[in-house]
């Protein structure tokens, strides 16, 4: 035991730890979080550093924070804690980031980042509960991404024969003004069901975007319907001068540490990988999740059968009065179908590889994507289709339908 711990610093460290203590709702809980293979981020070490501070073990705390800095270069939060630790050796500290008093906004950002990271460690997904949004992944979709803007966290799920399994989670930055984008330049991150639409390589981007960028399809059909604007919402990396950015700092993009983006880059499939951005994740038990997806699958099958039946009334019952696709409203859509049906002796519709993702939040809609095999007496085709089903008066109705 170093003499340092025996002298004056002990008292100050404890006080210092008290100022940091609010970061962890309970320090022991943070420590108790089981380590797993996916613990590749800095959170366990961060919690370890704070635990050492709480225990008044300056030497260990300094070792831990130095290890953190070595493992995650330019990790500003770690540098701030290191500064506090060292400053606590010379005077009693009264606040987190004491030495940054002239940069209060930056200190506040780092404080928020610390809180987000430590909470994520404590609240790592456990057990068998399933996220409500990932109702069904099709077999080609290897991974799905769910982002919780409230927790500044991205969760990666693997498609395990149709059931999403939690793989890893990562700290993310969202828009400066938070979530729920509605307008151009509102510095918010959209909430909704999206897909990765392309990949931009590091070479074509500036340093600001770090190791790469993956645009998503904001605004989606629902967003357009709601009059939501803006464009260029990406998942992207971090500039080289910092390991991570504050929880709220982007113009609406979702920003990951380069290490983290690199870790998930190989799992992202252009046009396939869903990116669901939520402001609060809802969990379902396996049974409830199964019931919800079965009900929806039954609806889709009922729509398919009614289409095959050529009974326009039954077919029309699946469509919302608010339907709109490429400028065609409900009435025009049904009228068109009626004309087509008149020439048909028979219709055979096959629907395969269905994926279903539910919108997070209050707006109840499900994005359904599938491969459709259409056969009839005078025409056959195979298309990839996407429908948006919304809940109206307790019933799921189609509000958009189009081919991809």
């Amino acid at each position: 035991m170093s003499i340092l711990q025996q002298l004056r610093p002990v008292r100050q460290l404890r006080r210092h730890a008290a100022t940091l203590a609010f970061l962890v709702c309970s320090g022991s809980a943070a420590l108790a979080a089981p380590a797993r293979v996916s613990d590749i981020g800095p959170e366990p070490q961060l919690a370890g550093t704070l635990a050492a501070i709480s225990q008044g073990d300056f030497t260990k705390a300094l070792q831990q924070v130095d290890a953190l800095i070595a493992a995650f270069p330019n990790f500003r939060l770690a540098y701030l804690i290191r500064g506090d630790l060292l400053l606590a050796q010379t005077k009693p500290l009264t606040s987190f980031g004491e030495g940054g008093k002239n940069e209060l906004a930056k200190v506040a950002d780092l404080h928020d980042e610390a809180v987000a990271r430590l909470r994520a460690l404590q609240e790592k997904p456990q057990g068998t509960a399933l996220q409500r949004y990932l109702l069904q992944m099709e077999k080609e979709q290897k991974f799905a991404i769910v982002i919780d803007t409230r927790k500044s966290r991205l969760y990666l799920y693997k498609n395990d024969a149709g059931t999403p399994r939690f793989v890893a989670d990562y700290y993310v930055t969202q828009g400066k003004l938070g979530a729920a984008k509605t307008a151009e330049g509102d510095k918010r991150t959209p909430i909704g069901v999206y897909h990765v639409t392309s990949s931009l390589s590091r070479k074509t981007l500036g340093d600001f975007y770090g190791s790469g960028a993956y645009p998503i399809n904001y605004p989606n059909e629902w967003d357009r319907r709601m009059g939501r604007k803006d464009h260029g919402i990406w998942l992207h990396g971090t500039p080289s001068n910092t390991y991570s950015r504050p929880p709220k700092a982007s113009d609406g993009c979702v920003v990951l540490a380069n290490l983290d983006l690199d870790a998930i880059a190989g799992d992202l499939q252009i046009g396939l990988t869903p990116v669901i951005i939520s402001d609060s994740i809802e969990w379902l038990s396996h049974d409830d999740w199964q019931a919800e997806r079965s009900a929806l699958l039954a609806m889709i099958d009922s729509w398919r059968e009614d289409w095959e039946s050529r009974d326009i009334g039954k077919y029309a019952s699946h469509y919302s009065g608010q339907f709109l696709a490429d400028g065609i409203n409900t009435q025009q859509w049904i009228e068109q179908k009626r004309k087509v049906n008149a020439s048909k002796n028979w219709i055979k519709v096959d629907v395969r590889n269905i994926s279903m993702f539910r919108n997070p939040g209050k707006e109840e809609y499900v994005v359904v994507t599938f491969e459709q095999d259409y056969k009839s007496n005078n025409l056959s085709n195979a298309t990839k289709k996407r429908q948006y089903w919304a809940k109206e008066d307790g019933h799921w109705k189609i509000i958009y339908e189009g081919t991809l």
Binding site: R76, R82, G83, L87, T90, G99, G100, N102, K106
Partner: protein
């Protein structure tokens, strides 16, 4: 963010007591070198110390002073070499570690500086200079970390602090051939001062411990001098001296109070007219230096803990733990004051770190 004003304290070289007793002539030539250094005649000082070392290349004091001179001459890597070798040859001496730390700090190698100071403190847990310097190192390292955390451009504010090398090897506690029986262990923040190491130097040490620069004048007397610090820490006798005790305690508290209020003249008034200045510098130079320190910007808080008063003839020895806190530094150290009554007031005749 403005970093606290940092100034590292150094040690000026000192003659080893034993050496000076054994060979006053040599000691004289070392003192001459030290004087030359102070006058800024680095080259001559180096020549002097080199000729001193020619006859006794292993001499610690001479090597130490040589290191200090080389540092002043910006021959830093040579100085580092000397101090490192001294730490190897005399691992119990805190001063070479301390000066090594000062040089490392100048080079902004704060981790190395920190390690060196920690080593100094391991040798002497109550070594105030090392504690103060360590506080400065921590503040500098903290400042660097904050710069990194908050992306501050510190390039314009890290004007190199001017470091004045201390030239004296101070006698912090026992020196000589015998090692302390055991390293004093300070348990937690115990108010009890660490017991004075019970080692017996070959010849009794002069009880003067300099707080700052310049060599301790070598005692002329060949006769053993009564050490002021008694080896056994006995409780203060609850005898006739109880009045004295109260007065001394009150004086002590008033002294700490004047210091905390940064009232330099009140603070200095607690020192005897014949106060033995550290290292024998002139009273006015000492007073000037103290005044500067006491009135430096920022709050100062000095508190005293566990004072014990022991009569010593017409004087008293007061041992206590001093907690010092300023904008740039917090330290706790054991202190010993020798006090004497002058015109009905208890005055400080001698002040030193350790106890």
């Amino acid at each position: 963010m403005s970093p606290s004003r940092l100034s590292l304290r150094h040690i000026l070289a000192v003659t080893f007591v034993a050496a000076s007793l054994a060979a006053p002539a040599y000691a004289d030539s070392l003192q001459d070198a030290s004087k030359l250094l102070k006058q800024g005649q680095n080259k001559q000082a180096l020549e002097q110390v080199d000729s001193y070392l020619a006859g006794r290349p292993k001499d610690a004091s001479g090597r130490f002073l040589r290191g200090v001179i080389l540092t002043e001459m910006n021959r830093t890597s040579e100085a580092i070499g000397i101090f490192i070798k001294l730490t190897e040859d005399y691992p119990d001496l805190p001063e070479p570690y301390n000066n090594l730390a000062v040089i490392y700090a100048q080079q902004k190698q704060y981790d190395k500086a920190k390690s060196a100071l920690e080593a100094a403190i391991r040798t002497h847990p109550s070594y105030a200079t090392a504690h103060e310097n360590l506080g400065d190192i921590y503040a500098r390292m903290a400042s660097q970390a904050y710069d990194k955390a908050l992306q501050l451009d510190s390039s314009n504010k890290t004007a190199q602090t001017k470091l004045s090398m201390i030239h004296d090897l101070m006698t912090v506690s026992s020196r000589g051939t015998e090692k302390p029986v055991s390293p004093p262990v300070v348990v937690a923040v115990a108010p009890v001062p660490a017991p004075a190491p019970i080692s017996k130097p070959i010849s009794p040490p002069p009880a003067v411990v300099a707080m700052a620069p310049t060599p301790t004048p070598a005692p002329v007397a060949a006769k053993p001098v009564e050490p002021i610090v008694k080896p056994k820490p006995e409780p203060a006798p609850a005898s006739t001296a109880s009045n004295d005790q109260d007065e001394v305690a009150r004086t002590l508290s008033a002294w700490a109070d004047a210091w905390s209020r940064k009232n330099a003249s009140a603070y200095l008034s607690y020192y005897a007219s014949d106060f033995k200045t550290p290292g024998g510098v002139s009273r006015s130079a000492w007073a000037e230096e103290r005044k500067k320190r006491v009135t430096k910007p920022g709050a100062i808080n000095v508190t005293i803990e566990g004072a014990r008063v022991t009569p010593e003839g017409d004087k008293v020895v007061v041992r206590f733990r001093q907690h010092y806190k300023s904008a740039s530094l917090s330290s706790s150290a054991n202190k010993t004051l020798l006090m004497i009554r002058q015109n009905g007031q208890w005055k400080i005749l001698q002040e030193r770190i350790g106890g």
